[in-house]
Assembly symmetry: C2
Homo-oligomer: 168 residues x 2
Amino acid sequence: MTLSMYQSSVPVFVRLLKNLSAILDKGRAHAEAHKIAADVLPASRLIADMFPLSRQVQIACDHAKGAVARLAGVDVPKHEDDEQTIEELQARIAKTISFVETFTAAQIDGSEERDIVYPTSSRGDLKFKGVDYLLGFALPNFYFHVVTAYDILRANGVDIGKRDFLAG
Amino acid sequence: MTLSMYQSSVPVFVRLLKNLSAILDKGRAHAEAHKIAADVLPASRLIADMFPLSRQVQIACDHAKGAVARLAGVDVPKHEDDEQTIEELQARIAKTISFVETFTAAQIDGSEERDIVYPTSSRGDLKFKGVDYLLGFALPNFYFHVVTAYDILRANGVDIGKRDFLAG
């Protein structure tokens, strides 16, 4: 058995997204126990000029779905960024997991040298080889936003620990 | 070219550790500009019952050096956890990078099926195959602590952005 592009993407994204959803479950339970309105935690930030929890979750989802679609050479589906409650964020995650799970090893493996174009509004098109896109861009971005989502909930006193992040 | 265990470990750890050191540089500049004592940011936390910045950096370093050593089948060097200033944390990172960079592709590649033992104080020995250890344990742990170190500095108003984390 040798390491593959599929193994380094689909199961990694799916596991972490499931864990993020479970972490959000604990956030929702915390909000209910403390009578915090449903839209408060999703709007919480570590500092005023940083994205709130909702945006962290949306961007994490976008890097997961974008990575598998681009590596497989299919169109990236557009998901609207309109979630305002934890339940809505969990639906976004569930939709992303369903999409990521449709990809087979045959679609992703061998994409190391595939030319990837990642469009940005501020810096034009970023261009990568598949392996550099996955290891040097999609995965670090994904982890950045999943962990920051965790940290926002953790900083708000939600009863979560690293085991929730690593589970599975 | 196919994805390898080396490519998924050594250059990933080295790049992120270099970026973490550069992020800490900005933290040190921020502390100096605001006349914050050198031991304050390393002791900062997102919430009282979470590890401070210094411990986040130490654990991130430990997962990087532990991963490459275990995958290559060599002893993991012990680094004392006694850093109290950003300069000392940067020396810890530099020592870790030097160690990680000594490993060659020939030492790490082919470790997918290697039996890995990860000793813990609370849960005894955790056992993995090399690929599961790297993708499912060492890398997620590493990212968890690097991003949380970033988030602690960001929450303290240090002028850093995601580009500092992704650089290189």
